[in-house]
Symmetry: C2
Subunit: 213 residues, 2 copies
Amino acid sequence: MDAPRDETRRRSDGEQTHAAILEAAMRLASIEGLSSLTIGRLAREIGVSRSGVFAHFRSKQRLQQETIAAAREVFEREVVTPGLDAPEGLAQLEGFCEAYLSYVEREVFPGGCFFAQLLAEFDAPDGEIHDEVVTFQQGGAALLEGLIATAQQHGELDPNVEPGQLAFELYAALELANYFSTLHRDPGIVDRGRKAVRAAIANAGVRDAAGSS
Amino acid sequence: MDAPRDETRRRSDGEQTHAAILEAAMRLASIEGLSSLTIGRLAREIGVSRSGVFAHFRSKQRLQQETIAAAREVFEREVVTPGLDAPEGLAQLEGFCEAYLSYVEREVFPGGCFFAQLLAEFDAPDGEIHDEVVTFQQGGAALLEGLIATAQQHGELDPNVEPGQLAFELYAALELANYFSTLHRDPGIVDRGRKAVRAAIANAGVRDAAGSS
DNA sequence: CCTACCGATCGGTAGG
DNA sequence: CCTACCGATCGGTAGG
C-alpha cells in the first residue's frame, strides 16, 4: 500500500501539463480554428505563464502539429475503432457512418468535428497543414471506398455503383450533419445525416440492378 | 464628347477605394477566413495606409459586416439570379443546384464559396456573425425546400418525399463539392457533386411511388 | 516552469 | 486620405 504509488500518476507533472495543453488546444481549435490558437490564450486557459506553455513546444508550428496528432488519436478511438467493429460488408459500411454521426452527436469536440473544421480552414491556404488535411481526407475517402468495394464483393451493393461516387455522397451527408448540428446547436439534426446515409446506401442496393444502358 | 464625363467614373475616388477594399476583403476572407482579415493586411493589398483603410469603416466589426453584405450581392448575382432562370418545377430545382456548382467551378471566389467558408468558421462561436450565418443558411435551405415542394406540386417529384430531407441531401452535395474542389485544387471534382445531385433527385422521382409501409 | 525582455502587429484615436 | 501615436498582444529568446 505504501509502496511507490507512482502508478497512480505514472505521468510526470511535465507530461500532465503537456497533455492538458493539448487537450485545451483541441477544444479551442474545434471551436475557433487552429489559426486562432495563441500561446497566450492557452496559457490563460491552463493557468501557467506564456513561456510555460511555450517551453513544451518550441514553436507555434509544433504546437499546431501536436494538436493535430492528438486529435487524430481521438478520432481513431472515437470513430475508426468502434466504426469498424461490425462484420465485414454492408454492416461495416453502415457501422462506420453511424460511428461518425454518433461522434458528432455526442459532441466529442465542443466545436464539432475537429477535422471538418480543419478541412474548411485549410482547404485554400497552402502549407504543411493543408498537405496534412489532404492526406487525412484521402485516407477517409479511401476507407469508405474500401468498405463499399467489400460490400459489393459480398453481393450486398450493386457492383455497377462507382465506389468513389457513393463515398462522396456518404462523406457529404456526414460532413453536413456535423456543420448543421454545430451551427444550430441541435444534435438532433444528425438524424438528417442518418436518413441521407440510408437513402444513398439504399439507392446503391442490389435490388435495382442498374444498367449503364 | 467633352460634356461632363463623370459617367465614365460615376464613383468618387472614395467610393472606388471603398469598393476596392471590399473586393480584396472578400477574396482574402474566402481563403483565410473572415477572422484572419486585418486592417493592415488589407492596407498593404490596396496600397494605402492602415488609417486610410480604417477611415472607410469605423470598426473592424463594420468592415466584416460590409464584407459579408458585399459577398451576399455576389452570391445573388452569380448563383440565385441565374439559378432561378429556368421554368418553375423540377427544372428550376436542377437549375439552382447547377448554378451553385458552376459558381464553385468558375472559382468566383479564389478560396471557394464565401458562405461555405463562413459556415465552418462561425458554426461554433457565438456572436452577431454566427447569427447572420444561421439566417443565411436557413434562407438557402428554405429556398431549396420551396423549389422541391413546387416540383412536387407539378407532379415531377414523389409527393411522399420530405422536402427538408431532400434539401439536406442536395445541400450536402453542393457543400462538399465546394470543399473538395478547393482542397484538391481541382474544379473537376464538382462533377461528383453533379452526379450526387442527380442521384438524390432521381431517387425522389415519381417513378418509385414509395410507400411509407 | 518563471521573469523580463525583443521587434512586429493588432484595433483604434487624435489631429490634420 | 496622411503621420503619429496609444495600450495590448503576438511569436519567440535569454537566462535562470
